[in-house]
């Protein structure tokens, strides 16, 4: 992940396994950093949701056929105006363009397939590597973003 050294940032790369305590810990660590950088409640909600969906995709789909102790790596890079998150799994990857649009009338009552839609809705960009087992998400801080009093 490219780093602009001219402005303050916090970053880390953390391997985690499919364990709720580990997932919650890394997500809350990220939310704490967002608060320190003054991101508002709606930004924290968006980033939290996108991270949850990306990790869920990685563990549920990417690691479906892998041992449960196989880690996924989450990297984050938080700047005052932007947050970059990379989630890399060890699975075979997938074609994101092959996921049916869950908002079409004929798909509305299908219980799965909404994680990627939510990631794309809340993030400025969501890009996969060629194989489809690494996703990079960028959140751009909106001009009216502010911490709750």
């Amino acid at each position: 992940m490219a780093k602009d050294m001219s402005q303050p940032f916090e970053s880390a790369a953390i391997p985690i396994i499919n364990d709720r305590a580990q997932i919650d810990a890394v997500r809350e660590q990220l939310v704490d950093i967002l608060e320190r950088f003054g991101y508002g409640k709606s930004s924290a909600f968006a980033i939290r949701l996108a991270v949850e969906e990306a990790l869920n995709n990685a563990f549920t789909h990417g690691h479906r056929d892998l041992p449960s102790d196989e880690p996924v790596t989450i990297q984050y890079h938080v700047c005052p105006d932007e947050v970059r998150i990379v989630v890399a799994d060890g699975g075979p990857g997938f074609d994101p363009d092959a996921i049916p649009d869950p908002t079409l009338d004929e798909n509305l009552e299908i219980p799965s397939g909404r994680g990627l839609l939510l990631m794309r809705a809340y993030m400025r960009s969501v890009e996969f590597n060629a194989v489809g087992n690494v996703v990079q998400m960028v959140y751009r801080r909106p001009p009216d973003d502010a911490s709750d009093p």
């Binding site: 709720r20 909600f45 969906e53 869920n56 869950p102 009552e109 799965s112 909404r114 839609l117």
Partner: protein, 119 residues
């Protein structure tokens, strides 16, 4: 952490089963599975289920939780029952709008409005 404890607070009044979530965050795969199983048991126990699910305590939910709600809605429809959702935080309501699930769920601002909608 999944457990034997219920993830739901349930009361039955005037033929409507009112349900609240215990958890503020409905994210954990095992908990979502448990919530789905508990709701399925409630639906199975009624010939024409009338369920009202309040989101008053909920701060965060994932697409997996939405999936469980869709399954619950499909089960209720299959039995000719009724499902209402209520008290959804604006940020979470936006998730329903993005996914267009506000088109398949009947959503009310308050539990009181949802109760009176059963007629």
């Amino acid at each position: 952490m999944p457990s034997d404890e219920s993830r739901l607070r349930i009361k039955n009044q005037d033929g409507v089963t009112q349900i609240e979530f215990i958890d503020r965050n409905i994210l954990d795969e095992a908990n979502i599975q448990q919530i789905g199983d508990e709701l399925a048991a409630i639906i199975d126990a009624s010939s024409s289920p009338r369920l009202l699910i309040s989101f008053a305590n909920v701060d965060h939910l994932s697409s997996a939780a939405l999936g469980t709600l869709i399954t619950v809605n499909n089960k209720i429809k299959a039995k000719g029952g009724m499902l209402r959702l209520a008290d959804i935080d604006p940020q979470i309501y936006e998730v329903f709008v993005i996914t267009k699930l506000n088109r398949i769920f009947e959503i009310h601002d308050t539990v009181e409005n949802a109760v009176s909608s059963f007629g």
